[in-house]
Amino acid sequence: MTRWDEDEFTANDLLLDRELIDCHGMPAGRVDDLELSDPEPGEPPVLTALLCGPTAFGPRLGGRLGTWWQAIGRRLRLVSGSYPNRIDAGLIDHVDRLEITLLAAREHLDSYRFRRWTEEKIIGRIPGDTT
């Protein structure tokens, strides 16, 4: 169950653009957007997932640059469709003023793909990498 440090806050305050830290304390990206449930009439929407990656970031930028960002992100994706990488709300461990901690390791998140690609195709091939 997610622990929230504060009872009342706005999404802007504690969620959007915050840093994600995985269960090993490693940075795992930023919250680019939020996914909310479609509420029944009279009921409040519920946070169902945090969204990451260019297809979430682009629309938030807005304008032509945002469209381009989103388009580039879409073309780089393995799966078709432009729905952003989801981090299910159940994976959120703790939210405070500083960061959002996750229950999963970053290797298991969808948003990890670009990093792995850079590591394998570019950085891993330069001699002297200490791994």
Partner: protein, 409 residues
């Protein structure tokens, strides 16, 4: 004892790290051309740098988040994108200027054209980023940079008119026969040479690399409050040394090697050797730091893992940005554009961009919910706000001055 030793080391590296190609060029030019009438600009710039770096360092120590985390979280996704893009662009020009500076120093020593040295300097800077442990990098080059003390000592050997220098410091005015816009332009450039955005990005991100916590605040403060002003003093010494040697001969400084002439007059070859080593260390360290800073700002903005404390494979995209910056800046310097001109542009545009990073730091340092008892004191706030006003003015006038004076001609 060990704590004192480590603190002394920290201060000494802060002194060496404060001075870079921007200070060398602007201090040399202004000393020869305007005497000490622009010393106030160095003082203003240094005071601003101390204030800014202390706040950024404190925010990093308390929140464990360096500057560009804060920028994005506070300013939102759109405004902070402008911020990140501007900072990265400035880091790149600064990096190009520093690589040019390293190459010019090597040309001074060897007599071989600086263009030959540019790719080697770029490669060496990248190797430091890639392989050298963070603390080694800071300490080795910071300590070697201290050799610039030779400028202070030279003042006692040269026919320095202390009375006249002091008079110019305390009652600044545009010297006769010099155009006022140019004088103001160089004032902006000196301020910009002291408060360089990459140095603050590096200072705060470096704090994270060294694992600062709230307990490290004292050490960080000592570095900023003692180290940076002493660095500013070196900058003033370079300016002052030009006054008895270059000004009477009406020499206008337009090359880096002219900045070293006063020391050669005072101490001959031994003095020059100090200048060569310390100039090299200062520019080379600054090259590595400004390249790292572009990596820091992009990675922090995007939320990628970053830093030299991780092995490169664990911060792959951060290292990719650093590598790309070094390549781009090296290529830019290889276009044979004059590194001294690039330096002037870098410091003036840098001065214009200071509010972009300074403003969000000021806000966060004021937020008691985040900072707890480490929140800004009232007088820090007053000073910080006053300084923000100055920097906004500087930022507004810098580009018009750049155009009117044709970059200080």
């Amino acid at each position: 004892m060990k704590a004192v030793l480590s603190m002394t080391l920290g201060v000494m590296t802060a002194i060496g790290g404060f001075v870079d190609i921007g200070n060398l060029v602007t201090s040399g030019i202004t000393g020869a051309r305007f005497g000490m009438t622009l010393a106030w600009a160095v003082l203003v710039g240094t005071a601003g740098m101390v204030l800014f770096a202390e706040m950024a360092g404190r925010v990093t120590a308390v929140t464990r988040k360096p500057i560009f985390h804060v920028v994005r979280e506070r300013l939102g996704v759109r405004v902070s994108l402008v911020n990140a893009a501007a900072s990265t662009f400035l880091n790149l020009i600064t990096l190009a200027a520093e690589i040019g500076g390293v190459s010019l120093v090597l040309q001074m020593v060897t007599g071989i054209s600086y263009l030959i040295w540019v790719p080697l300097a770029g490669l060496a800077a990248w190797l430091v980023i890639w392989r050298m442990p963070f603390q080694w990098m800071e300490n080795i080059f910071g300590l070697l940079g201290l050799g610039m003390i030779v400028f202070v000592v030279a003042l006692f050997r040269l026919p320095t008119d202390w009375h006249a220098l002091w008079h110019q410091v305390i009652s600044p005015a545009v010297p006769a026969g010099q155009p006022a816009p140019t004088w103001w332009f160089y004032a902006v450039s000196l301020i910009g040479a002291c408060i360089v955005p990459y140095q603050v990005i590096f200072f705060s991100s470096g704090g994270r690399e060294e694992g600062w916590t709230s307990k490290s605040i004292t050490e960080m403060r000592v570095n900023a409050l003692i180290g940076f002003p002493l660095g500013g003093l070196l900058s003033l010494a370079i300016m002052a040394a030009a006054v008895p040697v270059l000004q009477p001969l009406n020499i206008q400084v337009s090359h880096l090697d002219q900045v070293a002439l006063p020391v050669a007059s005072a101490f001959g070859r031994a003095g020059l050797a100090f200048v060569f080593v310390s100039f090299f260390a200062a520019t080379f360290a600054a090259a590595a730091e400004s390249a790292l800073s572009s990596g820091y700002s992009v990675a922090q903005y995007m939320g990628w893992s970053w830093g030299k404390r991780h092995p490169p494979s664990a911060a792959a995209r951060f290292h990719l940005v650093c590598l790309a910056s070094v390549i781009a800046a090296t290529a830019f310097t290889l276009t044979t554009i004059d590194p001294v001109t690039v330096t002037i542009f870098a410091v003036v545009l840098g001065a214009a961009a200071v509010p972009l990073t300074y403003f969000p730091i000021l806000i966060v340092a004021n937020d008691a919910r985040v900072m707890g008892q480490r929140v800004n004191r009232r007088w820090v706030n007053a000073a910080g706000t006053f300084f923000l006003t100055i920097m906004v003015v500087v930022s507004l006038v810098s580009v018009p001055l750049l155009i009117i004076t044709k970059a200080g001609q």
